[in-house]
Amino acid sequence: MNYIAIENNQTIPVVAIPEVSYNEFFVLNTELLANSPERHCVTYFGYPVGNEIKLVCCIADDSAHKIFVSSSRVKPSASLDSFTAVNFCFEKFEREIHENFGIGYKDHPWLKPVRYSQSRADHSKTLANYPFFAIESDELHEVGVGPIHAGVIEPGHFRFICNGEQILHLEIQLGYQHRGIEKQFIEKKKLLQRATLAESIAGDTVVGHTVAFSQVWESLCGIGVSHDIGYARTIALELERMAVHTGDLSAICTDVAYQLGSSVYGRLRTPLINFMQEWGGNRLSKGLIRPGRNQFPFTHELANRLVQVFDAFEPDFLEMNRQLKQLPSALSRFERTGVVSYDDVLSIGTVGMAARMSGLSRDIRMSHPYTLYAGLNHEPVIKHHGDVYSRVQIRMQEVSQSIYYLREIVKNVPEIPENTPSIGSPKPNAFALSLVEGWRGEICHCAVTDDKGELIIYKVKDPSFHNWLALALAVRNNEISDFPVCNKSFNLSYAGHDL
């Protein structure tokens, strides 16, 4: 075998990952994905080992419920055959490896910078000289937007090439939010510091990223967690999904100038995040989840409160949904706007909602379950048109699905064990990987330790890392005035991408 099959949240010795020649590595990983929509690359990264760079590629198989991990060692001066030339889903991963270590790729179609980290190999590449695609023509014009946008949102630069009102091409340049998260994971030694880092990766996915970090850490330390911890995390994950989906429906209504929807969905988000505050003291769940312990146990009182919140939320939410779904002025903006086809999402390897909108079933809750999800027999909400309306419908239905799950879950509030086992320290020379389905899609955290059990690499992959390209494809041939609603219907993370 030239790869090892592991399960979600499993820790293995680093030496257990087969190390093969780059040629074999190339053939292995590109062939694993060939004609296999059930497989996709969850993370692919490099880290220095001596004078060389060790490349580690992790391919998830959703029907076998396994993750295939393989590795290869190359020189930083190497010029390699690019995976991307065979399968586009590797494009950003290879760009990142190129940016960090200077490894060349002979046939990568666009080997452009990703996030301009301070430790990048080539400092002559700057935000100011990003090589945008251009089309020479007297009839076309370019529109540059950002990094600072009109609203109160994160920074990123969008460059449109337009023919009149019509977008021919959009290129998205990111990196403005780069805070050096992965480097800080290595530098900051206290567990609480690292947990705080995890919750600041993306402030809209606090629960998703802290659960992924906690699972990696608990796996590295070899401790199992009690039922009540997984229970609380499941509730927090679903509430985060509900809150963001509801808020996004509000923002989508804003972008088609539908004031009633904007106000109603906006106000419906408040009781959900206020419930998070009643539970853990913070509206966005910061400080709620920590590795190895349950510092805010979910009690019977909270369960009763949550049912009350749902009883008040649900009729108003469903009433608003019905109204929005029969409103011609909204539907004409949603339907057939911002379409990405099944072939395209498969080709570029999107995850989460940005895959399920076009008929591609990717949901870690079903394929690589963790916490309580194995017992829920979760069935993903799948749509087929890949347009704004598909993304609107997924949000509406996933909110209802989460309410359904949570109403069942809170019927059985678990007892809190009196003693929490101490978390201990990570195993030396170990590799751990955790996948979590955040509200946006699959989050992947990955850690490698040295012979003293210290972290030598901590890799974070937010679903936005895959999905930004889907937004760029979605707006092609749309009117530029439809860009805001396309953008909001994805609601991708800048901070999660830039790290």
Binding site: P147, I153, L192, G203, D204, S263, W279, G281, G287, Y494
Partner: protein, 253 residues
């Protein structure tokens, strides 16, 4: 039409009538209170992931604190977090809570520039710049203008163009990659103008303090008019802070 009216009716009254007196639900972590209890101060200082606590006597710097509550959990006899969300001030020193302090963190009107009351007292338009913020403070700034908190009832709004703005609201620790854009935006705002820092990341760098990916030199160049701590800052902290800055009257001389 009828369906729309029904929907509006079903929402009931959502707005908070008096945002200066509203109570927050649940166990919100607001302004901390430090008792005079004797504890192992070294352990307490060492516990904080943000180095926000210092010893002799024990102090908590709200400009560095993420309000995670770990100190209150481990040393409940020493530190408690109240639900007081009014923690914005124009003086950086006021964010440092000392043992025995149990008074509100406030804007000191004596230190507010004259033109702030005169020019912005009844209308304030702000340009927000996210410079490495994780989108949590940004979401709370947006929430400050939703139908519940409704900040625009006070004439305080966010605008798209810096040319229309009276000041800049910065979130995030200010990354190297955003430093230039922040400067350009600030320069484009006409005088007089204010600078407001929202959230722990903006005030001190937060958990990212010391990262080589930050460039906080912007803040060394200009005086800051308002610090609004929080991780993220609560909409009520934001609204009350801005109201205090622009409307709180100086004591008569």
């Amino acid at each position: 039409m009828l369906a729309n009216i029904k929907i509006v009716y079903h929402q009931g009254k959502q707005f908070i009538p008096d945002v200066t007196k509203a109570k927050v639900p649940g166990i919100f972590s607001g302004r901390p209170v430090i008792s005079s209890e004797k504890v192992n101060e070294t352990a307490l200082v060492d516990l904080c992931p943000l180095d926000a606590i210092s010893a002799g006597p024990v102090r908590i710097d709200l400009g560095k604190c993420t309000f995670c509550g770990e100190c209150a959990r481990q040393f409940p006899e020493k530190i408690t977090f109240t639900t007081d969300y009014k923690i914005a001030t124009n003086e950086r020193d006021r964010l440092i809570i000392k043992a025995g302090d149990d008074k509100p963190v406030e804007v000191n009107p004596e230190k507010v520039r004259d033109e702030i009351h005169r020019v912005f007292g009844r209308s304030l338009k702000l340009r927000q710049v996210c410079a490495g913020g994780d989108n949590s403070c940004e979401m709370e700034l947006n929430a400050a203008n939703n139908v519940q908190f409704d900040m625009s009832r006070f004439g305080i709004d966010f605008v798209a163009s810096p040319r229309h703005a009276d000041g800049i609201v910065i979130t995030g620790p200010i990354t190297v990659n955003m430093a230039e854009a922040l400067q350009i935006c600030y320069d484009a705002i006409p005088d007089p103008k204010i600078i407001v820092l929202v959230g722990t990341d903006a005030i001190s760098g937060g958990i990212h303090a010391g990262s080589t990916a930050l460039d906080r030199s912007f803040l060394a160049k200009y005086p800051v008019d308002l610090y609004i701590p929080g991780n993220p800052a609560h909409p009520l902290s934001i609204i009350n802070g801005l109201l205090d800055l622009t409307r709180k009257l100086k004591s008569p001389k």
